[in-house]
Subunit: 439 residues, 2 copies
């Protein structure tokens, strides 16, 4: 029942009437890998599931308890969100980013993905997207028939957008004042890399020069491994929309709560988004919004949760990074989140001799040979021929790991055998990738 | 903080770049009435709030308890919905409508409004919408730049679409095989009226003749006052999408859970919708889906809840209907839901002498003079000049009324003074409308 749809849809004889923009959607490499994982599992193969980007950690206990308390909340909430929640979110950004955030300029949606979709519905302009990038920006543009311009970044720059590359991309078109929206995502999916304050300042300067809006996707911000996340809004407050939500730092992907915070200069944009929201999702689930107030207000229990989560992710990320770079892969050291972006370019010739000449074939071969599931770079906007892939180091029991971590003071490092004991499959899978490229 | 947005948006000097389709959205009569209600309340005026169409009843206790139990569910669920929920929904339609519903052809979304929007995103064709109709079908089409064809119905036919009117509308265009989607909504918002089996059979025949898809919005189905709801899918299974959700019958509007059920012949459409859903809302809130299983499985406690709700709504609707038709208004007797659609046409001349020549002015005048808030027919797709309006008889404490109703056996009618005691403001408001038209 959860399987893929029937292969040959029954048709009544009447031609299928689908918008051309949506025909052929969803036949992605991601789904192909997913389907093959299911088949292999059904055949009792052991799978290292490094594909799906879901936090392995539970929702913090006080937030779950807040949801229980709010279970009887049944009223439609205001389109922009529960006032107490918008206030908690505004306060969060005031405290964490020293922003002049106002509750009236906060928009709560059923996931930041939905908010980004509606942003593409209302904004009339071009989107500039540095790649590798999160999987959904481009299909959303395709669905709506919007124009997107990709800016390919390079391993040598940690797959990050540079100010120079941004200028080149804007000036390549004979239309400097074109309305544009630049998407930045840091710590990044799929690389885990983040920008330094200096880099953000340089990008801000370019954005300001061309009066370009920045959609700053900071959903992994609280999962910066050193707690050192900084928003570009500090450097470009007037043109930045900060996107975030509960899915990653709060382990609540399935709850579906995303947030957008706008500056006063972009009030016209939040107004338009709220109007469209009122004709689409209406408002976000009331009990979830009540619970989210507890999450955004934070407090000692939630800070401690985050500190443990960061400690685990940071060390685990570096352990995997070490194993894989020792084997010869090119990977920048992650600054946050739970991803590594693997570049198999040094093995190009060797892989070609095995018939592997693109990312999708690489991931399929790796899955067949080792049971390790990772996603090809093409899913993240990279050229199909490129031998890159994203590894999500999340295949462990986050609840158990968190409980174990709590036994060791936060001022210390976790003991050497912690990861073998609690994240053994992740280390094992990384080792298998290392051995696979060496053969 | 919940107030309307600042009136003059600050702008950075750069032109506002909004898609033309979304400019000017949201400046509706509905919002104007809402805003005026707030002002009057702030000035201590007593308001009879018959504007918002929200169920006054609480979510049934076993469903709230199920949400509490599921509070820690945090995983992303499959795009189409939790398998157990889709199974419960399919079983519900098998039992209630004798349909061959399969869980694989059920789609769960964050409100049926969102699903309808995505349906307009993917379906390439024209929508036929009988008016008066629910407020969001047309703004959705406007946002997407889709084509809509309105079919105005008449009071004399209880504001219902007739087979003859449907044929006329289709044949008026020189393109009989055009891909079309007819929207039917019954029991209807804003009229409370439903179709008989015979009427559905006739409409089904026309839909089949022109191979037209029917989007059957049955969200008020379980609130048919006699529990006698029947779907057009019984007559036109191969071409009907049934739309429903928890918002109305389960009193859970703020929970945001809607459902679409497709026939095998429209699998291409659910596939496309699911693909777009995976790039927008992703999946519906996990704890809510787990709780919804209890709602759709039903059982004795939920049946009893529904029986009490129906008994209250039926009698209250008829009491209001009596007061208002005695005063001379034209209103069909409602079959379900909690709406009356008032036609002030008999008072046209008298109202004109008071300067009232359209529905919006009528509703504003009524609100100023009596404190009764109702919404003009134009909000429901009717001509602006028409003197019609929707009254939602929901301004009472549903929890208290339900508890009081439970003291009287379901086989009996509620005692004569029940409504004065528990729904006094509704009767008072109806009386005020009656007196207002008489002056």
């Amino acid at each position: 029942m959860v399987g893929p749809p029937a292969e040959t849809p029954v048709n009544s004889g009447k031609p299928i009437s689908l918008d051309l923009n949506v025909r052929g959607l969803g036949l992605s490499a991601t789904l192909a890998i997913d389907a093959r994982c299911r088949e292999l599992r059904a055949a009792d193969r052991s799978i290292y599931d490094f594909g799906l980007g879901q936090s392995p950690f539970p929702v913090p206990a006080p937030v779950v308890e807040a949801l229980r308390q709010a279970a009887a909340e049944k009223d439609y909430l205001p389109v922009r969100g529960l006032p107490a929640l918008r206030e908690a979110i505004a306060t969060y950004y005031e405290e964490h980013e020293r922003l002049d955030a106002h509750p009236q300029r906060v928009l709560v949606g059923p996931g930041s993905k939905e908010l980004m979709f509606l942003l593409q519905v209302v904004h009339y302009g071009e989107m500039l997207i540095p790649t590798p990038c999160w999987v959904s920006y481009m299909p959303q543009a395709q669905i709506l028939g919007r124009r997107i311009s990709r800016i390919h970044t390079r391993f040598e720059e940690e797959w990050k957008l540079t100010a120079a590359a941004l200028v080149r991309s804007i000036e390549a078109v004979n239309d400097e004042t074109r309305p544009r929206l630049i998407v930045l995502n840091y710590p990044a999916n799929p690389t885990g890399c983040s920008y330094t304050g200096e880099e953000l300042g340089e990008l801000a300067e370019i954005a300001r020069r061309y009066q370009t809006i920045v959609l700053s996707d900071e959903i992994y911000g609280p999962l910066h491994h050193d707690g050192g996340h900084v928003s570009i809004a500090r450097y470009y407050p007037e043109g930045t929309i900060i996107s975030s939500g509960l899915s990653k730092w709060c382990g609540a992907g399935g709850w579906r709560l995303g947030t957008f915070v706008f500056p006063p200069q972009l009030e016209w944009l939040i107004d338009a988004l709220a109007n469209v929201a009122s004709e689409t999702y209406t408002s976000v689930c009331a009990p979830i919004q009540h619970a989210a107030v507890t999450a955004f207000r934070g407090g000692e229990q939630i800070e401690r949760y985050l500190a443990h989560v960061r400690r685990i992710l940071k060390t685990l990320g570096r352990r995997c990074h070490e194993v894989l770079t020792d084997a010869g892969l090119r990977i920048p050291v992650p600054d946050g989140a739970f991803y590594l972006f693997l570049d198999f370019a040094p093995f190009q010739d060797r892989l070609a001799r095995r018939g592997i000449r693109d990312g999708a074939t690489l991931c399929q071969g790796l899955l067949e040979d080792t049971g390790v599931a990772i996603l090809p770079g093409a899913a993240f906007g990279r050229p199909r021929s490129e031998l890159t892939a994203r590894l999500a180091y999340v295949d462990f029991d986050g609840e158990r790991a968190l409980a174990a971590s709590e036994k060791f003071p936060l001022c210390e490092a976790l003991p050497a055998d912690f990861f073998e004991r609690h994240c053994g499959r992740v280390l094992e899978g990384a080792q298998k990738v290392a051995e696979w490229v060496a053969t």
